[in-house]
Symmetry: C2
Subunit: 199 residues, 2 copies
């Protein structure tokens, strides 16, 4: 009996922490990390402030957790696009579109993840997130160079450049999301030209 | 006489503040913003800690001032390269090389300016710095599109993408600065292909 009870407590804790993170991400989706406060998370999750502190040391840890959860999802979507059917050029084009479309579907969240000035702990996680993206893009660039679809180039450098290009160029359009289809097409073409894809 | 004395005091203050900023930048060149402390700045400038606080409210203000001074210089160098002789393709190529060469000549400082996790106040200045760069590059891209040197494209989006590409792709090489000439050439070619320059 004792074991089963402990199990239940553990499950409830996992569920409660997940609920807090969900409430926290909802705040970031609406107003960026600037809207994330322990008080607002407690209200959003329908618990007391003390309960939030039972799971997180403070706002910075909560922000870092929200960042990691959200970016893990974004990276997974891009990874899936890059492992889809077709040659390297097709997969790179689709991944670029997936990145941009997802950003436009939650512009405040995308801005918060990419560029919002925030605690250094989130900046540290951001550098890691960009490295993870770069590793994914390096594989597809190397693949395209090997098959002759792309120009000869240093795949690692080009991959980092693509990640930087995508992140930086989406920021302006995210602040004023009109003509999203044109922005996405322009970004795709930039990336295709940048790797020297035959289009 | 009173007026002349006030003038002298003012001059001395300007000189002292400039000396403190010089000492602060020297620390950042050697160890990034992480090496910047009020104590170390005071020691470097040969003054007491209290004197530093007479000019700066604290470390964050000092870091932001160092950031602004250093990036103003970097932006001026790139602006000069972009206003040099030759067509848009030549000027963009030279500007890319100037950016990268300057970064390699002070790799710790470049890393600190571009990506070191640091106080949000510096992040705010970073966003402004990238906007300033983007505006410079937008002019040369628009110029190249107008003369037919570059492919038709949205100059604002491409300019932001170039700035992001340059910043992100230099980070890895800055951490391990070998074969800098190859890195610079690779970055230049990436940017040239990205705008669809005839090379």
């Amino acid at each position: 009996m004792a074991y089963r009870e402990t199990d239940l407590v553990r499950q409830r804790k996992v569920a409660q922490k997940s609920g807090l993170l969900h409430a926290a991400e909802t705040l970031v989706r609406e107003g960026g990390f600037g809207a994330l406060t322990i008080q607002a998370v407690a209200e959003g999750a329908g618990v007391g402030v003390g309960t939030v502190y039972r799971y997180f040391s403070g706002k910075d840890e909560l922000a870092t957790e929200v960042f990691k959860r959200a970016t893990t999802r974004e990276v997974a979507a891009v990874r899936e696009a890059l492992s889809g059917p077709g040659g390297a050029a097709t997969r790179l084009a689709v991944a670029t579109e997936v990145f941009a479309q997802r950003a436009f579907s939650a512009p405040k969240l995308a801005w918060a993840l990419i560029a919002e000035p925030v605690d250094p702990a989130v900046d540290v996680a951001r550098l890691q997130y960009r490295k993870t993206y770069t590793a994914l893009f390096e594989t597809v660039v190397a693949n395209g160079v090997a098959t002759g679809e792309f120009a000869p180039q240093n795949p690692g450098l080009s991959a980092a450049a693509l990640v930087g290009a995508m992140a930086e160029s989406i920021l302006g359009p995210l602040a004023n999301p009109v003509c999203n289809a044109e922005t996405i097409a322009a970004l795709r073409l930039f990336c295709m030209r940048a790797v020297g894809a035959q289009c």
